[in-house]
Symmetry: C2
Subunit: 98 residues, 2 copies
Amino acid sequence: MQSDQGSQLSDDGTVYVGKKNVMSYVMAVVTQLNNGASDVKVKARGRSISRAVDVTQIVKNRFISNLKFSDIKLETEELQNEDGSTSRVSSITITMAK
Amino acid sequence: MQSDQGSQLSDDGTVYVGKKNVMSYVMAVVTQLNNGASDVKVKARGRSISRAVDVTQIVKNRFISNLKFSDIKLETEELQNEDGSTSRVSSITITMAK
C-alpha cells in the first residue's frame, strides 16, 4: 500500500529525509496527510537535518497552510562504523498534523 | 559584558550559528547558561541548521546534562538578494534552559 510513495517512507509512516531531491519528500508528506493520516513524522540525521526542515516549510507554505508542528525532537544517535567503532550523529524528528 | 564571547552572540543573548567551528558556538551557550542566564536561544538558517542541532547535542551530552529544550521553532524567512529579488530560507530557533 505504501510502497508506491517511494523508499523514503517507512512502514510506520515516518518519512526519512536523505539525499534525494527535497520535493520527493514533500510529496510523501503531502500524500500521507491528504490520504487521512492523523499525523506524519519527518526524520533526518546529520547534514540532512537542514533538508528535513526545508521539507516541512515547503509543505506548509505551498500545500497545507494549516499544518501544525505537534512535536519536534532533537537527539543524538550512535552509529556503528565498519571498523567496529561508533560515531555520534545528531537527529531531528518533526511530527506534523493538519 | 557579552562582547568577550565573540561575534556569534547578539545583544539579546541569542547565539547565531553560522560557518564557524561548532565548538565556538557550544562555548557561547555554555558560558551564558553557567553565568546565570535563565535560557539561551540558538538560531540558524539554511545549511547551518544541522550545525545548530549539533551545538545543542554537544552542550547536552558533554557539558549540561540536565539541559531542557523548552521551545523549538521552525520558520521561513525572506531574504533580499542584491538584485532586489527575494529568496526564502528555512530557519530554526531552539530555546534551552537548565
